[in-house]
Symmetry: C2
Subunit: 342 residues, 2 copies
DNA sequence: ATAATTCTCTGACCAGAGTCAGAGAATGGA
DNA sequence: TCCATTCTCTGACTCTGGTCAGAGAATTAT
C-alpha cells in the first residue's frame, strides 16, 4: 500500500509547492519584498506589540526591527512605545498601510480566482471540497498526543474547558464538586495519566485515565476542542489512553458518560466499547461502557515506508509526454521531473 | 458563492504553503543548498545536456554553470562535452551522485510518511483521494485554450496524434486520405479555426471548426491527450469551438464520429448534441450529431470575484482560539494570522 | 538601591540565489 | 570561407532574508 500512497503524497507535495509557489511569487507584485509584505499583513488592522509579532513569526529582533523601520519609512506603519511598558513598542498600520494591506488581500483573491475561473461550476465545488478534505486531514496529522502533568497551565486549561463544556451541555449544568473526582495527583504515574493533544503547540484536547492495578482502568476527562472536532483527535486520544491502561496492567477499561454527549457515545460504540450496567454512582452519568483490551499488539496502522519508492511517480495526469513528445524548439521539453520539493 | 469559495481556496493555499514549505526546508538536511539539490535531482540518472537542464528549470547560464561546478567539485556529477555537438556539455551523475540522489528520495519518502503516519487507514485513503482530486482539478485549471494556426509545429503534432489515435482505435484503421479533409487553409479565419489546449506550454489537445456562413458549422479534429483525459479539457474545447462558430454566424454546429470513440460520443450527448441522420458521406462515421447554438449569451460560469473578502477566513479547522485562548507564557500565541502566501 | 532581566535597536557580517555583460569555442548557413 | 548563432563559462554585482554580538533604556526582583 505504501508503494502507492507515499508516492502520491509526494507527487501532491511537489505539484502544490510548484503551483502555489509560482503563483504566490507573482502575487506580491514584486514592488515590496516578501518579508515586508508578510509583516505588514501580520501587524493586522489593530496593531500589535513588536514583541508579540516577533514571537508569532519567529523573527530575529534585529531583522524585525529593520523591516519595521523600512515599513515606517514608507509611511505604512507607526511604531511607538507601548503605554503600559516602556520597553515594548507597538506597531500600528497607518491609513496608507491599511490600504496596502487591502491591496494584498485583493491580489490574493485574484490569485484564488485564477485557480477557479477556468473550471465549471461542478468542478469548482469539487475542488473546494477536496481542498477542505486535504486541509482537514493534514491538520489532523499535525496533532500530537503526549502525556503531561495535570498541573501545567495547558493541562489545567484543557480540563477547565472540559468542565465548561459539560456545564453548557448537561441539562442540569455541571458542578465538578458533585462529580466523582479525578484530581491532579491521581492522573500522574503510577496512579494514572493525563494526555494532551496539541496542534502547533496549542492544546486542543485531553483525556485521562486512572489505573487500578489489574482491575479496570477508568477513562476520564475526554475533551476535544470544537476547533478540531471531526479530525479523529478523540479516537487517537482514546487509543493512546487504552495503550497506557494496557501498559499499566489493566485488562479492561471503563467509563461513564452523560446522554447529552452524543459524539462521545458514538466514538465509544464504534471503538469497541459496549454498554454495561451502572458500575459507579457518578450522578451525571447515564451510560456506562467498558472494553476488554486485547493483548499488547503492535500498533497496527500500516507498515513503515518502503525502502525506497520509484524515482519519479506522478499520480495525477501531467503533461508528461507519454507516447511521443510534442514538437519543440531546440531545447526539448521532454518528460519533466520536478525537484523533490518534499 | 465566491464569498465562500475564494476564501476557502485562499485558506488552502496559505495552509499548504506553510505546511509543505516548512517540511520541505527540513527535508534537505541543510547540508546542501536547495539549488544544488534541485539540480542534482533534475540531472536524473541518465544525465542531461546542460542546455536542456537550463531551459527546463529556467536557469541563468552563469548560475547553472556555477552550481554544476560546485556539484562536480563535490564529486557528485561529471560534466563533459557532448559527442554530437562540441558546444553543449553533458552532465551525468557519478556513483556518489546517484547515492546522494537516492538519499534525497528516501528523505522525501520519510516526509510524506510523516503526513500519513498519524492517520488511520481510512483517513489515509481519504487524504490520498482528496489530494488526487485537488491535483487533477488544479491541473485542469492550468490548461489554456487558444486559437492557433494549423501550420505551427504544435498544431501539426496534435493533429498527427489525433490521426494516430484514430488509426489505433478504428476497427479498420484510419487513413486521412479517405476521410473528408480539413486542410490547414480551411482552419484559419475566416473559413474556420483551430484551437489548441496547452498545459505548461505543451499542447495537450485540439479541436477545429469549419464555418459555412449561416449554415451549420462543422466540428473536426477533436482530440485530447490521454495524459489529461478526465480533466474536462474536451468539454472546454467544445464550448470554445461552439462560441467560435456562433461568432462566425452559425446557428447550428454538427459533427460526425466513429462508434469506437465512446468518450467523445458521451461528451457530445451530455453537451446538448442530439443524434441526427447522416448528413455527409464520411466513410469512417457511424454517428452524426448536431446542436442548435443559443443566442450570444454571456459566458455564464460564475461571477467575478467579489470586491474583497473578509480579512482572515479559515475554512477548515485550525488552532485558532475561538472561545478563550489556552494559557501561554508571556508572549501570547493569540489568534494567528498567516501571511497571505496566496 | 542595586542587580538581573526584558525588549529593542545598531552595526557587522553572511549565504543563497540570482542577474548581467562579455568572451571564447563550436557549429550552421549563405 | 566567413559571418552569425549557439552554448558555456567568468567576473562582477545585487537583493533577500537572515544571524550574532553588544549596547542602552525600562522594568522587575531582591
Amino acid at each position: 500500500m505504501d508503494n502507492a500512497v507515499i508516492p502520491s503524497v509526494r507527487a501532491f507535495n511537489r505539484f502544490v509547492a510548484e503551483r502555489i509557489g509560482a503563483v504566490s511569487d507573482t502575487f506580491l507584485g514584486r514592488d515590496r519584498p516578501y518579508g515586508e509584505s508578510r509583516i505588514l499583513w501580520e501587524v493586522g488592522s489593530d496593531g500589535t506589540d513588536i514583541r508579540e509579532l516577533r514571537t508569532r513569526l519567529g523573527l530575529d529582533s534585529g531583522y524585525a526591527s529593520r523591516v519595521l523601520q523600512s515599513l515606517e519609512r514608507q509611511g505604512l506603519v507607526i511604531v511607538k512605545p507601548a503605554a503600559e511598558d516602556g520597553r515594548v513598542r507597538r506597531v500600528r498600520l497607518t491609513g496608507k498601510g491599511r490600504a496596502e494591506r487591502a491591496t494584498l488581500d485583493r491580489r490574493a483573491d485574484a490569485v484564488a480566482w485564477k485557480f477557479l475561473e477556468p473550471l465549471t461550476e461542478e468542478q469548482r465545488t469539487r475542488l473546494v471540497a477536496a481542498m477542505a478534505d486535504v486541509h482537514r486531514l493534514l491538520t489532523s496529522s499535525m496533532v500530537s498526543i503526549e502525556a503531561e502533568s495535570p498541573s501545567t497551565a495547558d493541562a489545567r486549561w484543557c480540563i477547565d474547558q472540559y468542565f465548561q463544556e459539560l456545564n453548557r451541555r448537561f441539562d442540569q449544568g455541571f458542578d465538578p464538586a458533585l462529580s466523582i473526582p479525578a484530581d491532579a495527583h491521581e492522573l500522574v504515574p503510577p496512579r494514572g495519566a493525563l494526555l494532551i493533544a496539541r496542534l502547533r503547540g496549542s492544546p486542543v484536547g485531553c483525556g485521562a485515565v486512572k489505573f487500578h492495578g489489574r482491575a479496570p482502568a477508568e477513562l476520564k476527562r475526554m475533551w476535544v476542542s470544537p476547533d478540531v472536532r471531526g479530525l479523529g483527535v478523540g479516537r487517537r486520544l482514546l487509543v493512546a489512553l487504552e495503550r497506557a491502561a494496557r501498559e499499566a496492567g489493566a485488562r479492561v477499561v471503563r467509563l461513564e458518560t452523560n446522554r447529552t454527549l452524543k459524539e462521545a457515545i458514538h466514538l465509544y460504540r464504534t471503538s469497541g466499547y459496549r454498554e454495561v450496567g451502572r458500575f459507579n454512582d457518578e450522578p451525571y452519568a447515564h451510560h456506562w461502557f467498558e472494553k476488554r483490551l486485547t493483548a499488547p499488539q503492535r500498533p497496527s496502522r500500516g507498515s513503515r515506508p518502503g525502502r525506497r519508492s520509484s524515482r519519479s511517480t506522478p499520480t495525477a495526469p501531467s503533461a508528461r509526454a507519454s507516447r511521443s513528445s510534442p514538437p519543440r524548439a531546440r531545447p526539448a521539453p521532454g518528460p519533466r521531473q520536478r525537484a523533490p520539493r518534499t
